[in-house]
Symmetry: C2
Subunit: 355 residues, 2 copies
């Protein structure tokens, strides 16, 4: 269908993996590993193999699904598996799965023997629109997200809507949050288009546009020195709420659900501390409210969430820095916010579903 | 005294850390960490502080000394310490110590929050002539050396002979092996100069020349696609013998002692499979024999050593690849060697001290 080129690699859309077939034939890797979780191994691997004409000359490395397993213990296991399989520097790792698989697989590949090639095939909506661009790899430490990682580019990325058919509704909703974010920070028209779309049947065109937005930002600022920070809108509070939920809730929030909460809170902060109008705040609040289920941030967790904010990777010199909306479709970064405003933004979120 | 510039950073020689003082004043890091082992913390840290006029605005992260501690468990400990200290992306890590400290400190820094700045101050002869150039970071897994790591450049490197005064003789001898290697692979005159030098009182000029040789090779091939592999002369068998010794010997070989053994073995392989003459082989054998203590590679360990060779990072497509001398001062790479020749080279080493 289309492709996006950024510095170093190409993102292929809806090609039924045909360019991958050619690539594997030409590249002469010594060994090929497919890294998947038990879900993608069961549901996506057959699709992958069929697209590649029953391609089978690879070994599967399987892991447990879920953010709680994106940790160093699993990395050690994968490194040792690669060693057991005598993987050398000419080995290739194909990461087939959601963001946990592409983040962790990318980290393992980028550090095994100081780096082997890897390819990402994101199979969830979240991974397609978010983890597919930008060369960020990472794992969590003590439930703090992506605290350890590298900037390492895959050889290529393949985005196929066929894989989305295997994704549960709640996971589609999770990815949808990043799409909303892309509209909010840079493209009002795209945001409006999403309001009339159905996240359960998202069109390949909307996915493509979302990736194109992220790709544009990342290409301008690959190492997150400046502009790229706008992609963190909703993520400062969102990540903290997500970490808090991961460690406390029986059924934790998905990433996108947490980001949706973060966007409402940081929308409020944008109205308070930047130029987002009250009408715009209400518009985004209403859209997120009808799309995402209610959640309550317990007031007894506020302190813990503030502690988690101190570990945010965007912080500099002990100061928590936010990316805030100047309007719908425009975002600024390195914004300071008072502790009191953070608390009030959490209270604002909690009040939204009461109305 | 002098400096060497390579792509991205400068190696400063005998400056009493004055450029570091200026750098720290200008760079405005949010926090500074000095990473050291308990030995360098006791013996090198006071020298470091005195050179910087009692500089004290840093936190020390201390680890246990020795290759056996260059592992992921210690990395996790350091990552968590950085988190506890609320280190952000504008933090700096100064690695003060031998190769274990610069390798592991570099790996931790290059992966913490996807990379913070670091500076290397190698305090052993080995680290000064070997680990100071090239941007290799790494840790061991299952006693297999540097199996996990990144290519990441420090902001700067400082080499000071003052620190060598704190280094035990056996450790000086360890570093001397890499200097011999630099002569053997690229500079016959330098090799001859080393033969008349005293490793216990090595001159700053000989250290400089060694670093300059390595810098030249690494600058031409930073990612070890080709030429840089010549730096692995002596290291293919050397690393395997070292890993074997680490896991079996009560008092394991130092890195340099293992490389000295590796250079005799691979010298023999160079005579057998490349153009090194018998006289040249005998010359290098004699030099190493008078310089390094006798060691016996047990024949019951030969199989294990061959297994370890299979994990060598230079291997491609299951083939063990050696860097071999064409003559003293000239080296080729990607050389195939039979399993039988590997065994015979180990036997040759064992026979050397019998003569």
């Amino acid at each position: 269908m289309a492709e996006l080129v950024n510095s170093g690699h190409t993102i292929h859309f809806e090609t039924e993996l045909q360019p991958l077939k050619t690539f594997l034939e030409d590249a002469k890797y010594s060994k090929i590993f497919v890294f998947a979780d038990i879900n993608t191994s069961a549901h996506c691997l057959p699709v992958f193999q069929a697209m590649l004409d029953d391609f089978s000359t690879f070994d599967v490395i399987e892991t447990d699904p879920g953010e709680e397993n994106k940790n160093i213990d699993f990395c050690i296991g994968i490194w040792k598996t690669l060693l057991d399989f005598e993987a050398d520097r000419k080995a290739l790792m194909i990461n087939l799965g959601g963001g946990v698989i592409t983040d962790m697989g990318g980290f393992v590949a980028s550090t095994y023997k100081r780096g082997i090639d890897f390819i990402n095939i994101p199979t969830t909506l979240l991974a397609q629109v978010d983890a597919s661009v930008g060369g960020k790899t990472g794992i969590d430490i003590d439930n703090i997200k992506n605290m350890i990682g590298t900037f390492s580019l895959p050889q290529a990325v393949f985005i196929e809507s066929a894989f989305l058919k295997t994704v549960p509704e709640r996971e589609l909703l999770s990815g949808f949050a990043e799409m909303i974010k892309h509209g909010l920070i840079i493209d009002k028209d795209y945001y409006e288009a999403l309001k009339t779309s159905d996240y359960k049947n998202i069109s390949p065109e909307l996915v493509y546009q979302s990736v194109a937005i992220k790709n544009k930002v990342v290409t301008e600022d690959p190492l997150e020195k400046g502009l790229r920070k706008i992609l963190n809108f909703g993520h400062t509070i969102g990540h903290a709420v997500e970490s808090n939920s991961l460690s406390k809730d029986k059924k934790p929030l998905t990433h996108g659900e947490a980001i949706a909460i973060g966007m409402i809170c940081e929308g409020w902060l944008s109205h308070k501390n930047s130029n987002l109008t009250r009408a715009e705040l209400e518009d985004l609040t209403a859209f997120i409210k009808v799309t995402y289920p209610q959640y309550t941030i317990k007031s007894k967790d506020f302190k813990g969430i503030q502690e988690l904010l101190k570990s945010d990777k965007k912080n500099e010199h002990g100061q928590i820095l936010f990316s805030l909306l100047e309007s719908i479709g425009q975002c600024e970064y390195n914004c300071k916010v008072s502790d009191q405003d953070v608390i009030e933004s959490l209270n604002y979120y909690n009040s939204v579903y009461d109305i």
